[in-house]
């Protein structure tokens, strides 16, 4: 037998591959390295450390580039948020970069034969048009008539530009549609917010209570790392959730609570802690006010009454309450993240804040901790003097502008008209809920600009669409957030922008020229970043190489006998809030029952899956491979009663007889209460330009026609919607 020349043979098989590549879709992936013989694609031409933006946690990611293609993403070993690891979405980031449906050129809405269409255009024409229209609109209605919506820290350049121009209305759905109630509740109680990444010491917690948290399905990298660490270190976990979540499967107690009654349960635990005097008496005496008022407020929340409200057996309520007392400062009630559920959200978060205070876990191992920034330096930009009115929220404790309020004002024009939206990287159609209102508001606009990577639904309504390049193709501002390990990280391009897309900073700079602010930005983003970094004691070339700079872990915990001072009016933790009382709300959280299910209807709960970030990744082919659509979880017995079959596709119809536009696959499971159904948010896209995501699964946003608005800060509770099924 003649010895086969191995090298030559590899050539033959790769030639075979090349020919099958032409024939088969399988190999059309640009990031699939053409030669599939493993030994050959091990070495990257370069590895670029940058910051992920598949979600907004901002992990450090190493982009492995070969032949000018990003073929692999790995966690940066040195980055404190990734610690060398990545979540599934971060691993599949190249699916966004090479998404064949990406926006490729600036588009302008034109009318041809009475029908609206998009016309490809040049950047110059598109930006000139935006500058002209903004000038017209702000001259006619004032600069306050322009509002900007954004998600992601790439928006910073546009905020700078608009602030200099005089536009002051900035809103992000991450406030009133997500974390806002938590922010305000903790500020009301402790004088400061929990922040993001949350200033909590989950990894060292000994007893962790999660309410409706999707930790483990919501894959914020470090949060999950800490959760797993806690479990591995023997932390006891209690999960309060109508659904047997991933976290629940790790829990000592799963409390399948009746949806909407979480506050009653929390009040009962407060009741037990005070009643049995198992709270941190010394800590509360020294650092908190309003204990008596708190006791008066929760006196009626006995475990027996709470059982009747929540469906959780008395023994379990008491067992967890006493465990909390026993574990004390090493126990933690997790504040949650997406907390706009039932409209009582600020008060529920207040109860969480109060419980944590009673445990005395403030700045203690396993409790609430202090975090720091790497540098206090912040670049200064001019702000227009002749700026228009500040947007004034109707809600007394809204510290940020609730996006839904801008929608309302766009419709009502009261107290002044909002005529133009600038939408950066957020698909309002899916993120705001109450789509009818969003649509109506859009009809009232004179002009809308959307900046996005993908043709998300919102771009279909815009007058000008600007294609931004992805996070793997651009610089952004430095990431200098508060975290337990103070760090400074860079986002830098791994590859040059594809198509005719541009980075946000470049779009903002070009637009600033057109808007008469030519000196606002540095001509070159690298100079701008380098100048900042010099101020912080580093340089761009250093950070480009290392990706991240970090300092020693900050002082997380308080010292023995340390005097604490809180930024509340009383200077102490406010167990009962005078400010809430003065504004006409309950000083101590009170429980009000949520609306009940109409007969034959199920409460619609929604959540997260590890492979997807909201609706942003539904079109990502890489991530979509393992989860192309969402499923509707229905309790097996309830489903049989409704004659549903496992695996069949149904439409959903809500309490207002609004029907989902698409169908969803039924999953009959034991993992959910019989009175609720559950689906993962972010599917059911209806823009055909997103070819992969188009009509896969159902959008819960279609069916959230009822927003239960939190009267304290304007958060939009979305869990008071009910659905039933339709086969046609």
């Amino acid at each position: 037998m003649a010895k086969v020349n191995r090298r030559q043979f590899i050539k033959i098989s790769s030639a075979f591959l090349a020919s099958s590549a032409a024939a088969s879709q399988v190999f059309d992936w640009p990031f699939q390295v053409k030669n599939a013989i493993a030994e050959e694609f091990l070495t990257a031409d370069r590895i670029v450390p940058t910051t992920c933006e598949i979600c907004f946690w901002r992990c450090g990611v190493d982009a492995h580039v070969r032949d000018e293609k990003v073929y692999k993403l790995t966690g940066q070993a040195n980055h404190p948020l990734s610690n060398g690891r990545l979540c599934p979405r971060g691993n599949g980031g190249q699916g966004l970069l090479y998404d064949p449906n990406r926006l490729r050129h600036p588009l302008i809405r034109v009318t041809v034969n009475g029908k609206p269409q998009f016309r490809k255009t040049s950047w110059d024409e598109a930006l000139t048009l935006i500058a002209e229209r903004f000038q017209q609109i702000t001259e006619q209605y004032g600069t306050e008539s322009v509002a900007m919506f954004s998600h992601g820290f790439g928006a910073s350049f546009f905020k700078t530009l608009f602030s200099a121009y005089g536009i002051r209305t900035f809103s992000a759905p991450s406030y009133a549609q997500c974390r806002g109630p938590r922010t305000e509740a903790f500020k009301l109680t402790y004088g400061h917010a929990v922040g993001s990444p949350e200033a909590i010491d989950v990894a060292n917690s000994k007893y962790l209570v999660l309410l409706g948290s999707h930790l483990g399905e919501n894959m914020h990298n470090t949060a999950v790392q800490d959760f797993s660490k806690a479990i591995s270190r023997g932390c006891k976990v209690v999960v309060v959730d109508p659904r047997y979540s991933t976290a629940a499967s790790k829990a000592e107690h799963w409390l399948p609570i009746k949806p909407g009654t979480d506050l009653a349960l929390l009040r009962s635990w407060i009741h037990i802690l005070i009643n049995e005097k198992i709270y941190d008496v010394e800590f509360i005496e020294n650092n908190a006010t309003g204990l008596e008022e708190l006791w008066e407020g929760v006196k009626d929340a006995t475990p027996e009454k709470t059982y009747a409200l929540t469906g959780i057996p008395v023994e379990q309520i008491v067992a967890v309450g006493r465990d909390l007392g026993r574990y004390g400062s090493s126990a933690l009630i997790h504040p949650g993240r997406h907390v706009t559920w039932y409209g009582d959200d600020t008060q529920r978060e207040r109860a969480i804040a109060i419980l944590n205070a009673l445990l005395g876990n403030y700045q203690m191992p396993g409790g609430l901790i202090q975090q720091e920034k790497y540098s206090s330096y912040k670049p200064k930009f001019p702000v227009a003097r002749n700026a228009g009115q500040q947007f004034k929220s109707r809600y007394p404790f809204a510290s940020s502008v609730p996006a839904n309020e801008i929608v309302e004002q766009t419709i009502s024009a009261d107290p002044y008209p909002v005529k133009s939206w600038f939408v950066y990287g957020t698909n309002l159609i899916h993120s705001l809920g109450d789509q009818r209102a969003t649509m109506e508001a859009i009809q009232n606009l004179d002009f809308m600009v959307a900046v996005d990577v993908l043709p998300a639904e919102i771009t279909g309504y815009a007058d000008v669409v600007l294609p931004e390049c992805t996070y793997l193709e651009r610089y952004d501002d430095l990431d200098n957030r508060t975290y337990r390990i103070p760090y400074l990280a860079i986002r830098q391009p791994a590859v040059a922008p594809l198509y005719d897309s541009k980075p946000g900073h470049e779009i903002a700079r070009l637009l600033s020229m057109k808007m008469g602010l030519p000196d606002l930005f540095e001509a070159d983003i690298e100079t701008y970043l380098d100048k900042q970094l010099k101020e912080m004691g580093s340089s761009l070339s250093e950070l480009k190489k290392s990706g991240v700079l970090k300092k020693e872990e900050s002082d997380l915990y308080r010292k023995e006998g340390e005097m604490l001072r809180f930024k509340t009016p009383s200077g102490k933790i406010e167990l009962a809030s005078q400010r809430l009382k003065d504004a006409g709300f309950d000083a101590v959280p009170q429980y009000y029952p949520p609306p009940e299910n109409p007969p034959g209807y199920f409460r619609m709960l929604y959540g997260r899956a590890p492979m997807h970030t909201f609706g942003r990744t539904a079109n990502n082919r890489v991530l979509g491979e393992l989860m192309p659509e969402n499923e509707l979880w229905v309790n097996e017995i309830a489903g049989h009663d409704m004659k549903l079959k496992h695996g069949e596709y149904v439409y959903l119809v809500n309490q207002d007889q609004v029907k989902s536009r698409t169908r969803i696959k039924v999953r009959l499971t034991q993992r959910i209460r019989p009175d609720a159904v559950y689906l993962v948010h972010g599917f059911g896209h209806t823009d055909p330009r997103m070819e992969f995501a188009f009509r896969r699964g159902v959008s819960d946003a279609d069916l959230v026609t009822k927003l239960s608005v939190d009267p304290i800060m304007g958060g939009t509770g979305m869990n008071n919607n009910f659905v039933t099924f339709s086969r046609t």
Binding site: M1, I12, S13, F16, E625, L626, M627, E636, T669, Q670, R671
Partner: protein
Amino acid sequence: MTEFITNKVNPAVLPHLEIWGSDVAIYLFLGGLSGGLLVISAAMVLLQNGGIFNKNRPRENYSGMVQVASLLAPVLLGIGMLFLFLDLEFKLHVWRFYTNFNITSPMSWGSWLLILFFPFSALQALVVFKNYYQRAPKFQQLAAVMESQLDKIAFINVHVGLAIGVYTGILLSTFYARPLWSSPALGFLFLFSGLSSAAALLLLFAPREEKTFFSKMDMYLIALEGFAATLFILGGMTGIETAKEAMLLLLVGPYAPWFWVLFVLGGLIVPLLLETFEAIGKIKFTPLVPLLILVGGLSLRFIIVFAGQSVPTFS
């Protein structure tokens, strides 16, 4: 209640094994059939006057059926191997079967056995057609030389034929991860099925005066096949949980009608009865009998190949 969810996507193994289709079923049938033909033809050569047991008598001319069987054996196997080749996912590497011999791999044994099959069956065919080479003296000479060694060649061929027949079953039966296949009886089932199919094929072509001979031969072979089939079923039903489950799927599951009607009834019982009637002269010979047997044999391979993949993996 158990809910099991996986995000494994590999289509060849999920939701159940799906690797071999008609190509392999046809190959297994043709392999068994040609093995049977070789066994029967070689045995007839050995047993005839002048053969190994009758050396004192002059060697007879080779009967038409010996000629047909000797010729069809390598030809049908060649066609079968073409089907096997069609099933390979990496056809360019087909020669790799012959750069290695893995003593524990039935497929490796099989590939080398196939190599052995062709030269010896071809030599036998060369000899039995010795009267056709008047215009090719070289051929005539070669045939004459070989005829002197015919007993040895035929002796080898009987064994090679039997081995191929058994091999087509063993190929599947050694996969213990597949509960329906992993039965020692499968080798014999396929062997006897191959032999009875071969006899049936010859019965189909045989002149009237020879039909009784092949019909009787076929009766015995069908009886043996039925015996092997019974063992196969019993082995499954008395086996471990997954084996029993798999056997039940065959006996009462989606493949049951095919198994009972095409194989058991059409391939075994009806032909056996008809052949018995033929043997006692109650009815005339009908081509229906051999056709039923051949269809039954082919269906058996299809049913076993497909049903064996549809059953849950050993656990």
